[in-house]
Symmetry: C2
Subunit: 536 residues, 2 copies
């Protein structure tokens, strides 16, 4: 694939046959020593704990759902260990160590459908899951070698925001289903009621705290702190409430996060799997989920990585997209052998990480004080540190504390994540605009200058596609193919839409990313701003 | 008392020795026939139902608390009947029939403390309550005869908004205490949990719907409708939830509104009380609560009435403050003989009533479309209609429907009313301003041009007074005197504050009401705007 002429520091030029990886290595090698010696200070240490806390709450949330949906095959230990191992490998060997990796919501959804498929076909889920990841890991290395990561320039907001709304819908639906299950499963009525209070209470407290950036009380440091730790604080509050007073009378009735007594797998299985004993036909079949993981990660990991390297952060040491994708492939092979979920770049944690490392200087712009980044501490120590911390919680006595968290608080967190990911999503914004009373329609997006019927028609198409893909995720077995549909949106954008809309319309409503100028387009900055509350 | 020269249509000039009442009668008599023949149309009919629904939810809420605090001596039937009888008398005989009367929160609080006093002194509560009202009613007639209602010109936002914040605090505290009682009273745990869900759910749903004016979906008619009926809708929703599914398994465990099977008193006592059989010393003692009712109503009723006659409504038929207060005295004697709570002007229902009768015309002001009142249907039919409806619900089968409402939904409504009365309260606004980060302080009030330390000092004094008065309300027996403290705030404003602050400061932070220009000052319009969401 021929690539356009682009900014050298950000993009590596023609990159097939490993040339991309080699260029990345050449660019990053001179910095490797300084990656370990730069920035040992209070700011970077704070960043380690910040990243740990903003990642751990959603990680446990996904893990807990995986635990109940895979009958204990994957649980909290597996998810945290994966973040720890992948994070450690990535922070040491990747070219760009600012990208935080972990287990994402889409991986959780994919894992559940893979489990359902294995269960229906009566094959060993963990062996099947191992093979899928081993194949996927190898495919990652191949893609990196061939330089295909360049293809991400075709990913626009059209696919990103449809993907975002899809994930938000799945989170909301997951939370609602969990609450309904309190009542449909047999059990004492007071437990069901208590769980409802904890779940919805956790959503409300987290949502309320997350809005603290807009409060006026106290000072900005405190408000930003409260907003950043909103989900963690809400979980702590509801864990305490579930422990005090008469709530404890429910005794063992109230389900808590499932953790092993000591460090070990959730199900008690050995760590290294005998995946090689899987039937040959099933091994071949594992190529299907492998390909889906690949498509998902090409999309999801690279978008996270781009956002973590946005121009506003003024990074100096250069990017390494091809090398990073190769290292990610290694991580996936390792998690595959262990039968634990694969990791990739996290949104919004990856860009939040870079942001937390910025040294700010206040400048006077148009009469207003604006904080600009003077420099960013580019180093590997914070990424490694947060990965190690995620592993440390799996050791007694910390793992016991995790076991105090009521499951229902995590169900509430799904609703919170859904609500928090809506503002800033352009598709959602346009849907709201379409159903608004005409005289009250307001938007500061560039596409608002288009004729309204065009906005309506475009939004209707995009929303219909989102609904169709959501329907696909709800189908048994076929559900796992949803990343392919997301990838297909890129084709819709590049092949179908130009036939229906003129170039100016498309440029306004969904501009293509100019890789050289990428960080100057609103899309990347908007995404970061939009997702900064969203701890997925 | 000498009165300043004022607008004749609004104020009646020197009015001692019944001259005020006579002037009122002279002004309103020519309109009396048209008061019954004007405005029989769809708008006025809609207004009847609107007033009925916005008054019935808080009325039942107060009644239900009275029921539990007076051990069934006063309940839903007594409160609704009082609104019905007082509303009918007032709408037929008062000079200004636009003012809606009913049982208010302060009357509920006063009634509870009177009950506690009677209980402690071991005298018959209902007889004592009768005498207090009979005396109060006579005092009202005397005050009207002497023209003392003119004194309300000394009532400024200083006392109004301290009163408002006090009532909001009492509502919040009442709601919180009720929720705590679910757990401290012995009873099944699942009932306590279900009541918590209903109470907080009712608060949240009502608060959410009340914000619908700011939504953009649909059209304005629908949004305003939803906002106006927010508390009623929330009660309906939670009544239905308490009736469906497994919630019904709680059976009689879930407390509902206490209503008699057929029309009759809550306790089963006869309607006419033998109040004359009370001990003589207790009859004399009843003068104390009588005086307190008088002070409260001079304040509360006249403010409601002023707001219902704001200049923006362009009323033509003239006011009748003295005559109205005389008629209110008659109402109080009647409710006293029946031993049911006394009524006075309702905020915000009274101004909302006038607003609902306005015929609007859209004008272009500064390039924006503004709705202005062209005329208002001034008549007696809507006030009488809503009063009759309030009585009709006491007859089977409607009274059975009232008995379906869970008590906990009404506890939640107290929290809602507290939350809704905060925005627009200047004391609350200034408290928020004082605790805000200096760089984020914003206000469009005129007092914001003062030096900030002055605002802080003034606010600290006013807030301290509010805290002291709240503490008084929580004391046994003495609690009932809180209206005297509110009245004392008027003295603080007129005697103490001018010694501590210069005239310009006071004019900015708390302007005196110029009765002639009253409706042009921001205070009255602000109050109406501020309280338009507040169904107290």
């Amino acid at each position: 694939m021929a690539t356009p002429k682009t900014d050298k520091t950000l993009w590596s030029g023609p990159s097939a046959n490993g040339r991309g990886i080699k260029a990345d290595l050449r660019r990053r090698r001179p910095w490797y020593v300084s990656d370990w010696t730069d920035g040992w200070n209070a700011k970077t240490t704070a960043s380690i704990f910040y990243m740990f806390f903003t990642s751990i709450a959603p990680a446990i949330t996904f893990a807990e759902l995986l635990d109940s949906e895979t009958e204990g095959k994957i649980g909290v230990v597996e998810v945290c260990l994966s973040s720890c191992i992948s994070g450690a490998i990535f922070s040491i060997f990747a070219g760009q160590p600012l990208c935080i990796v972990g287990v994402t919501g889409p991986v959780m959804i994919l894992t559940i459908t893979i489990y359902q498929l294995a269960d229906a076909l009566d094959i060993n889920f963990l062996y099947f899951y191992s093979w899928a990841q081993i194949f996927a890991g190898v495919m990652h290395m191949l893609v990196a070698f061939l330089g295909w990561c360049d293809g991400i320039k075709y990913i626009t907001n059209f696919s990103c925001h449809t993907f975002g709304l899809l994930i938000a819908t799945i989170y909301a639906w997951t939370g609602i289903q969990s609450i309904i299950k309190y009542y449909t499963r047999s059990g004492p009525f007071d437990v069901a009621l208590m769980q409802t209070i904890i779940a919805l209470g956790c959503t409300l407290v987290a949502s309320w705290l997350a809005k603290s950036r807009r409060w006026t009380i106290g000072n900005e440091r405190v408000r930003v702190f409260v907003a950043d730790y909103a989900p963690t604080m809400s979980i702590v509050v509801w864990t305490v409430i579930s422990k005090v007073g008469r709530a404890e009378n429910l005794g063992n009735g109230l389900p808590h996060v499932n953790v092993p007594r000591n460090f070990g797998t959730t199900s008690g299985r050995p760590w290294i799997l005998a995946f090689y004993s899987l039937e040959a036909w099933a091994i071949v079949l594992a190529l299907v989920p492998a390909l889906i993981i690949l498509v998902l990660f090409v999309f999801d990991h690279n978008v996270s990585s781009i956002m973590a390297q946005s121009k506003e952060f003024r990074l100096k040491k250069g990017s390494a997209y091809h090398l990073d994708f190769f290292v990610l492939g290694i991580c996936i092979v390792v998690t595959g052998i262990l039968g634990i979920p694969p990791c990739n770049g996290l949104i919004p944690q990856a860009p939040l990480h870079t942001k937390s490392l910025g040294v700010l200087r206040t400048e006077r712009v148009n009469g207003r004080n604006v904080d600009v980044v003077e420099k960013t501490w580019e180093q590997r120590y914070t990424n490694l540190g947060q990965a190690v911390l995620t592993g440390v919680v799996l050791i007694r006595p910390l793992i016991v504390v995790l076991g105090w968290i009521p499951k229902s608080a995590l169900d509430g967190l799904f609703l919170f994540m859904a609500l928090e990911s809506l503002p800033g999503n352009e598709l959602w914004e346009r849907v709201c605009l379409v159903v608004s009373e005409p005289s009250l329609r307001r938007s500061d997006s560039p596409w608002y200058s288009l004729d309204f019927p065009i906005i309506t028609r475009f939004t209707r198409l995009q929303f219909s596609l989102a609904v169709v893909i959501f329907a696909v995720t709800q189908l048994p077995f076929v559900g796992m193919t949803f990343p392919l549909f997301i990838a297909a949106l890129v084709l819709v954008r590049t092949k179908y839409l130009p036939k229906k809309y003129d170039a100016r319309t498309l440029e306004l409503i969904d501009p293509l990313i100019d890789l050289a100028q990428m960080d100057k387009t609103p899309s990347s900055a908007d995404l970061l701003e939009a997702s900064s509350h969203n701890p997925i």
